[in-house]
Amino acid sequence: MHTFEFIRPADQAAAIATAAQTKTAQQGAEVRFLGGGTTLIDLMKLNVETPARVLDINRLPLDKIEATSDGGLQIGAMVRNSDLAYHAKVQKDYSVLSQAILEGASAQIRNMATVGGNLLQRTRCVYFRDTAMTCNKREPGSGCPAITGHNRTLAILGGSDHCIATNPSDMCVALAALEATVQIQGTKGSRAVAFGDFHLLPASTPNRETVLEPGDLITHVILPAPIAGSKQVYLKLRDRASYEFALASAAVVLTISSGKISRTQIALGGVGTKPWRSPEAEAALAGKPTTDAIFREAAEAALRGAKPQSENKFKIELAKRCLTHALRIATAN
């Protein structure tokens, strides 16, 4: 591991001022915020991340879960994943989020990992994690060996000729389906970014993963008021029963009135280069009855743009069945 200066900023303003001295907040940042450490320290050990300064923000007062004035929920960026998953209101009104978090990682990691950190979780692509290999995300322009190499777990949606790295988060898939907002504090003040706009597609700059600029600190994730009577399901399929990243997952939030689907919010995980909201699936379900045939049509629509690689064609059918089954579970009873 490279040497670094360990700094505990006195407050949010000091943290932002110091972080603003980095040239980029993306891959290669010279200054990094340290939350739970579960991604950053892992990548520092691999020399994939080599910050000169590490800002320990664990003691900033961003660890509360509070009601918003419009009936939603404001979640501090330093709230631990386990505290969010077991929060009574989250379990009751946003159960897809609770389910998604508890399907991810292990109990120890959930106790450490923060909400803000989970938004910035890095891909598990083996080429990204191995500095002996080239990688456009790690070293822009160096090439992507994954496209012709081991790509079984990599993305089939949202990839480019430069990068097909999968976003590994479960929590973010639920947040995409719940239409969360990311609250960011930067040198120029505070701004809110819709969840779907927070992560970027790789295109020709896979080193840029989010809209964050130098000095930007995620302070909160905000959930809109709960959707009354909504059915919520997170279904995750993977190589082993637990403690494994998704090959395919689906977050489903829907309401039914008079036997027809009246509102749906759907996102997929394990298959996209970012948490993958699917307006195509939502459109296919709107106003339709809750039958297997309709669910399958929605799944076909969700995966219509999928581009498989040499080893992951199976993910297309897997993701379709995952979404179909999640819809079946959500609409049962």
């Binding site: 320290i41 109990a107 120890q108």
Partner: protein, 206 residues
Amino acid sequence: MEIDNRLPGSEQPNRRKFLLTAGSAMAAGVMATRVPAATVPGQTAGAAAPAGGAIPITLRINGKEHSLRIDPRTTLLDCLRETVALTGTKKGCDHGQCGACTVHVNGRRVLSCLNFAAMHDGEEITTIEGLGTPDAMHPMQEAFYSHDAYQCGYCTSGQIMSAVALLKEPCGSDDAAVKELMSGNICRCGAYANIIAAIQQVRKRA
């Protein structure tokens, strides 16, 4: 020719004693050949020393306060094992994939390999050494012992630290719920069935 394979006198083999002896011999070797970084051609002193220098921290480990000076790169795991010499916490993968290094920080289970020790300045750390003693074992240690919930024992301290934390976490009563919440602790020997049995016995008695 006859070879005498007997061990001399009462000197029975002892893994820990052997490792300690071998370890200090190796350490002495390293010390003897160590050169200050600045004298190595092409290398500056700054390359070997931490950018911000060693930093002072205080950890409360198993109820005892330890004031330490550490390189900021030191993980909590390395700090416990190398600096404080509490070797009950094991290093398995060192990347958060096996759970062997599980300890409690302020009463919650975490992976000590994915934390810098400096993050825990002033915090309460509990390791396997703080759980019980050979004469007064924690009920979970006793249960692991009586259920033979290990073979090689390397993952055991992590398994027990996880299991003790699990007692206070929301967890269903069936084996499946325990398996799910223990999935972050990998056992290469495959002692899982006995591990689950040990944990369930403690939960039923609690």
